[in-house]
């Protein structure tokens, strides 16, 4: 019985996370480059670099890492400290 409840709870959580994912935050790279890791951790390798001035979408967050999507559709994880070096469209 409790397994059924857990499954139900999981499905509900998944549904809410899908809805929440619709609204994405956009920022602009303000450093020379921004490194994208394959996973949310320093042990996961850098596979892509975004140049200064490029816009990225912030999809979600896990612990101190943000999953972002580039203009070309590449998805990767960026450290919290690196995300602080980006700008909103208003230049803030």
């Amino acid at each position: 019985m409790y397994l059924f409840l857990v499954t139900l709870m999981l499905l509900q959580c998944l549904a809410t996370s899908t809805i929440a994912a619709e609204q994405h935050y956009k920022v602009m790279v303000d450093e020379a480059y921004l490194e994208l890791h394959t996973g949310p951790g320093r042990g996961y390798p850098v596979f892509h670099v975004v140049d200064r001035g490029m816009e990225i979408e912030v999809i979600k967050r896990r612990t101190d890492w943000f999953m972002v999507r580039t203009e070309k559709g590449k998805e990767g994880w960026v450290k919290h400290a690196d995300m602080e070096l980006t700008l909103t469209p208003a230049g803030e």
């Binding site: 409790y2 397994l3 857990v6 499954t7 709870m9 999981l10 959580c13 998944l14 809410t16 996370s17 929440a20 994912a21 609204q23 935050y25 920022v27 303000d30 394959t38 996973g39 949310p40 951790g41 320093r42 042990g43 996961y44 390798p45 912030v58 999809i59 979600k60 967050r61 896990r62 612990t63 101190d64 890492w65 943000f66 999953m67 998805e75 995300m83 602080e84 070096l85 980006t86 700008l87 909103t88 230049g91 803030e92």
Partner: protein, 230 residues
């Protein structure tokens, strides 16, 4: 004489009045007229742009996925009572990229003891007493994060973790304080679905060995699970 003085007085008054009017007019002109040199620069951009300030993200707006929930199934060996299928559920919260906490519940059933089979003695545990259920809270640490390559073109994020915690085991109508230690492997199929293999030793004291004393028992468990981040 008087008329001369009168004419002089009138002239003086008229000159003073004229001076007063002229000076007042010039003052008014000065107030109205803008500074001519400033006008061309009003609409032009500043020559030096101010340095743009860096900012932190408004983090409350970003969907965070620090929880991981899943169900597991596997085999659990209860010391002296054989091995049986175990199943349960887990809920983890990832504090950092390295550390996570986890709460788990599980359930299995004990077989007959070895000597019950051989000696033919009557069973001293009822069916309900053979039900084992446990719950625990543990702290895990991700070690060796990296990628697992499957085939030529596929790479999946993965991590080994070590985990330990405390909890309770309900077995043979008795509650046992239980310590669990173990290790596992997490393979992420995408950014929110993970497959896990987990090995755990549930350690508790039990007096079911037949010698009337409390003995520390090691109850090994191997499970596979699917979990979801949300």
């Amino acid at each position: 004489m008087e008329s001369r003085f009168g004419i002089f007085l009138l002239k003086s008054i008229s000159v003073l009045t004229l001076l007063g009017v002229l000076s007042g007019y010039s003052l008014l002109r000065a107030d109205d007229a803008p500074y001519v040199d400033e006008a061309p620069y009003e609409d032009s951009e500043p020559i030096i742009k101010p340095e743009l300030e860096r900012r932190t993200i408004n983090e409350a707006d970003i969907d965070s996925e620090d929880f991981e929930a899943g169900v597991f199934v596997g085999v659990m060996s209860i010391e002296d009572f054989g091995s049986n299928v175990v199943y349960g559920a887990r809920l983890a919260y990832h504090l950092t990229e390295d550390i996570f906490t986890e709460a788990a519940i599980g359930s299995t059933k004990a077989d007959k003891r070895h000597f019950e089979d051989s000696s033919g003695d009557t069973e001293n545990l009822s069916d309900s007493e053979r039900e084992l259920s446990y719950y625990n809270i543990s702290l895990g640490y991700n070690i060796l994060p990296g990628e697992a390559f499957i085939g030529k073109g596929r790479a999946y994020n993965s991590a080994l973790y070590v985990i330990a915690g405390i909890g309770n085991t309900d077995f043979a109508d008795d509650n046992h304080f239980t310590v669990n230690v173990g290790a596992g492997y997490r393979l992420l199929l995408n950014d929110w679905i993970a497959l896990r293999v987990d090995f755990r030793d549930h350690i508790f004291d039990s007096d079911l060995q037949g010698n009337g004393k409390d003995n520390t028992t090691h109850n090994l468990e191997a499970t596979g699970s699917i979990s979801f981040f949300f």
